[in-house]
């Protein structure tokens, strides 16, 4: 199963190091492969901290999330929620 969607970085600090860790921990809860990309750039693995850090996504930037695997829908939902809630930051 393959699911994909665009999400927006809403928190003021962007996808910084601590936010990236939250994202990686969340991604690792799923069996599916989760891939992130910005604009037309190369995809990075959402389960790898270094991969997520290379995105260097600032507030307002759009990130494409692509999930492949048996729990793709749940994974996409969880990742989207994390982005929408600004990684739990104020």
């Amino acid at each position: 199963m393959s699911k994909e969607d665009q999400v927006k970085v809403v928190n003021p600090l962007g996808l910084h190091a601590r936010a990236a860790v939250k994202l990686v921990l969340e991604a690792n809860r799923f069996e599916s492969d989760i891939l992130l990309s910005r604009e037309d750039d190369q995809e990075v693995n959402a389960k790898s901290i270094m991969g997520v850090l290379t995105l260097a996504a600032a507030q307002g930037s759009e990130v494409k999330v692509r999930c492949e695997g048996s729990d793709a829908s749940e994974a996409l939902e969880a990742i989207r929620e994390l982005f929408e809630k600004g990684f739990g930051e104020e």
């Binding site: 690792n28 190369q42 990075v44 693995n45 790898s48 901290i49 270094m50 991969g51 850090l53 290379t54």
Partner: protein, 323 residues
């Protein structure tokens, strides 16, 4: 087919020293798709054969002095065929001033006219080098690239199998890290070159330690920026049902950007020192490059021994004891 917008030449090609003279935003949005250049001098006298829209057109000394000697009306006529053939971009070298007629025609058609103080010859060599790199097919892989004894070893394998740990161990032994986790690969002249992405360059993530900077910890000689990929080592979970290579006679390959790279599939198990094995793989690769293939040489020795034994057996007289 890879292309780059004309604007990228201005933004990234600082060594090209370009500035825009005409053509506006429309001109900058056109795309370059060839690393080759053209000097379309004959277009100015009406010969448009051999003009390529995808290549950068360059006007140097000869073309510009020719234009300068013309009446404005004739210039307009001369450049029209160039402008109307939707050439991607025109570069004037040696800072020659563009005639007004050329500027106007270029603005009308949305052709970017750029200017550089460089001489045509040095501009062309810099431009070709820049374009070959910018237009090279590329991809990015999840793995670690390390220079082991001068051999570029790309370590692949799924998350948390121990790629970074193996690489760190190799760095401790004096080998040089190129990229951890994300390896950007470019194809140039049938060779694959890998490098790390700008932000995480020379950093590694080690579970339990966090992010570490290899260059700061081990010094400048422990890292390098780019390396040709010569072998791929894929770390896999040891599976008792899979037959791993026991002889090294059947050579496997891994395809990256349609280039075949020798592949070693390496089962990981406690007690197997991956670092030593990777280092030996690099040494073995160097031997093969020198024309010595250990596995083949061994096979030949064995075959010779077998055929000699067979020959001895066939010439033996019946009843004779074998020593």
């Amino acid at each position: 087919m890879l292309t780059i917008p004309v604007s990228q030449l201005l933004e990234e090609g600082s060594e090209l020293r370009l500035s825009q003279v005409a053509g506006g935003e429309t001109g900058l949005a056109r795309h370059i798709s060839s690393a080759r250049i053209q000097k379309p001098g004959l277009v100015l006298v009406g010969h448009t054969g051999g003009l390529h829209a995808d290549r950068i057109a360059i006007f140097g000394n000869a073309e510009m002095t020719f234009l300068q000697e013309m009446e404005e009306r004739d210039v307009r006529q001369a450049v029209r065929s160039l402008v109307d053939n939707s050439v991607c971009v025109l570069v004037i070298t040696k800072d020659y001033r563009s005639p007004e007629a050329l500027k106007n025609e270029a603005d009308r058609a949305g052709l970017a006219v750029l200017q550089t103080p460089l001489l045509s010859s040095s501009f062309i060599s810099r431009l070709t080098a820049y374009l070959e790199d910018a237009l090279a097919p590329s991809t990015s892989l999840h793995g670690v690239l390390i220079d082991v004894l001068g051999v570029g070893v790309l370590i692949l394998g799924h998350s948390s199998i121990g790629k970074s740990e193996a690489a760190l161990d190799l760095v401790l032994r004096g080998h040089r890290l190129v990229a951890d986790d994300i390896v950007d690969v470019k194809l140039r002249r049938n060779n694959l070159y890998g490098q790390g992405s700008e932000i995480i360059k020379h950093h590694m993530e080690i579970r339990g330690l966090g992010i570490i900077n290899i260059k700061d910890l081990f010094g400048i000689a422990s890292v390098r920026d780019r390396k040709k990929i010569e072998i791929v080592v894929e770390l896999v979970e040891w599976d008792p049902d899979v037959e791993y290579d026991r002889l090294g006679i059947d050579e496997r390959t891994y395809e990256i950007l349609d280039i075949s790279v020798p592949l070693l599939i390496m089962p990981v198990r406690p007690g197997r020192n991956m670092t030593s094995i990777i280092e030996i793989a690099a040494r073995n690769h160097l031997l093969k490059q020198q024309g010595h293939h250990s596995a083949f040489a061994f096979q030949e020795r064995l075959n010779r021994a077998i055929s000699e034994a067979g020959f001895a057996a066939s010439t033996r007289t019946p009843g004779e004891e074998v020593e």
